[in-house]
C-alpha cells in the first residue's frame, strides 16, 4: 500500500451519554485520514471535526500513547485493541486499514467495567483486585541495596514476562465469558517467582481470586482468546500457574 495515501473511513462509534443512558452506534464519515496517524490520532481528528460542528466529542481513554500505560482500550471491529496482534490501540496505525473501510468502535463490555461515557469504562475493579493481594510487604523508607535479594536470572525473566501486563483489561473484553483470569494470573504468577512477597503468597491467590469472583467477572473456559488479544502477549500458562498456586494455598 502507498504509505502516503489518504483514507476515507466510515466510522461506527459507540455513543453513550452516561452510565445509565442507553447507548447506540453513531455513523461518522472521516476523509483525508493520513496512514501515518495512529488510531487515537484518527479519533482526535474526528473529535476536532465534531467540535467544529458543535457536537460532543467522543470520549475515549488514553495516556502514554506508547503502549506502556494500559489506559487505551477500544474494541475495534469486534477485537480488543484491534486486529494487529500484540499491539495496544495507541500503537495501532491507520496504515493497517484500507480506503473505504467501515470501522466499528465499541467500549470494553463487561459487567465489572461499566461504561462511564462513550468509549470510557470504569476499570477500578482491577484496582480492587490488586488491593486484595497484588502487593508485597517490604520495608519502605530508604531505598534497599539493589542486589541484597538475589534472584536467579531465569526466575527474574519469568517474573518479568508476567509483569509485562499493563492492566488494560483487553483480556476481559476479549474473553467470550468476560473472565479476568489472565490479568489476575499474571500478577499472581509474577510474585510466585520472586522472593519478595513470599509471606503473603497463600493469602494473595485466595484473596485475589475471591475478589475477582465477587466483582462479577465470568468464569474461565480456557478459550485462550485473552492471550491472543493481550497487547503484551501474556501467556495463559500463567493461568495454569494461578490454579496451581490456588490449590497449594487452599489445601495447606
Amino acid at each position: 500500500m502507498d504509505t502516503n495515501s489518504k483514507l476515507t473511513l466510515n466510522l461506527k462509534v459507540w455513543r453513550q451519554k452516561n452510565g445509565s443512558a442507553k447507548g447506540k452506534l453513531a455513523d461518522y464519515k472521516l476523509t483525508d485520514v493520513s496512514t501515518h496517524m495512529s488510531f487515537l490520532e484518527m479519533l482526535d481528528v474526528l473529535n476536532e471535526q465534531l467540535i467544529k460542528q458543535g457536537e460532543d466529542p467522543v470520549e475515549f481513554d488514553n495516556d502514554c500513547r506508547e503502549g506502556i500505560c494500559g489506559m487505551c482500550s477500544l474494541v475495534i471491529n469486534g477485537v480488543a485493541h484491534g486486529q494487529e496482534s500484540s499491539t495496544a490501540t495507541c500503537q495501532l496505525h491507520m496504515r493497517k486499514f484500507n480506503d473505504g473501510d467501515t470501522i466499528t468502535i465499541e467500549p470494553w463490555r463487561s459487567k465489572a467495567f461499566p461504561v462511564i461515557k462513550d468509549l470510557v469504562v470504569d476499570r477500578t475493579a482491577f484496582d480492587q483486585i490488586i488491593s486484595a493481594g497484588g502487593y508485597t510487604s517490604c520495608r519502605v523508607g530508604s531505598a534497599a541495596d539493589a542486589n541484597s535479594l538475589l534472584i536467579p536470572k531465569d526466575m527474574a525473566e519469568k517474573a518479568m514476562d508476567a509483569a509485562a501486563c499493563i492492566g488494560c483489561g483487553a483480556c476481559v473484553a476479549a474473553c467470550p465469558n468476560g473472565s479476568a483470569s489472565l490479568f489476575v494470573a499474571a500478577k499472581i504468577a509474577q510474585f510466585s517467582y520472586l522472593p519478595q512477597g513470599k509471606a503473603e503468597r497463600k493469602k494473595r491467590v485466595l484473596n485475589m481470586v475471591g475478589k475477582m469472583d465477587d466483582l462479577g467477572f465470568g468464569d474461565c473456559s480456557n478459550h485462550g482468546e485473552c492471550e491472543a488479544a493481550c497487547p503484551k502477549e501474556i501467556s495463559i500458562t500463567h493461568i495454569a500457574i494461578m490454579r496451581k498456586e490456588y490449590v497449594k494455598a487452599a489445601f495447606s
Binding site: V75, S85, N222, R243, V247, A250
Partner: protein, 226 residues
Amino acid sequence: MLPFSSILWSSVGKKILTGITGILLTLFVIGHMAGNISLFIGSVAFNSYTKKLESLGLLLYVIEIGLVSVFVIHAIIGISIYLKKREARPEPYMKSGDATGNSQKTVSSETMIWTGLIMLVFTVLHLITFKYGPHYTTFIDGEEMRDLHRLVIEVFQRPSYTFGYVIVMILLGFHLRHGFWSAFQSLGLTNPRMKTIVYGLGIFLSFLLAIGFLSMPLCIYFGLIK
C-alpha cells in the same frame, strides 16, 4: 482459611472440579469404547462381556453411582459457568471478531455448553434404550444370560436412531477436542511445551473416539455386523 465449599465453588475450584470429572468421564468413554469392540467380535463375546459386568454385583452399583455423580457435577458446573458468562457481559458486542494471535477459541470451545447438554439428554435416552430396554435372553454354554447383542442389532436397524447416534458421537468428538486439553489447563498442569502436546493429543483422541463410536452403529445398519 476459606471454607471448603467456597474453595470448590470459586472460579478456580470450579475449573479444577470440571477438569477432574472431565478426565474421569473421558476414561469412562475410552472404557466404553473398548467394550464396544467386543460387538465386532460377535454376539457371544459381547454378551459374555455384559454378563461379566453384571456379575460385578454390588461393585457395579458403586461404580454406577460414582459415574452418575461425576456426570452430574460436571454438568452442573458447566451450566453454572454458562449462566455466569451471560451475567458477566449483559450488553453484547454489536460486532464480534477473533483476535489475531495464539487462541484456542474454536467452534469446539464455544459450543461446549450445547454439545454437553445434548450429551446429557443422549445419555439418559441411551440408558433407557439399552440398560432399561427389552430384556431378551439367550443361552451361552448352557447358561442363561441377557441377549443385549440382539437388542443392539435391533435398535440400529432404525435409521433415526442410527443417524441420531452418529451425530451425537461427532458432537462428543467436538466436546473432547476442547475438553481434553482444557482439563489439563484447568488442573494447572500445562506449560508451553506440554500445551502443544496435550492439545494435539486431544485432537487425536477425540477423532479416534468419535470414529470408534460411530463405526459400530453404521456397521450394524449397513449389515456388516449381524
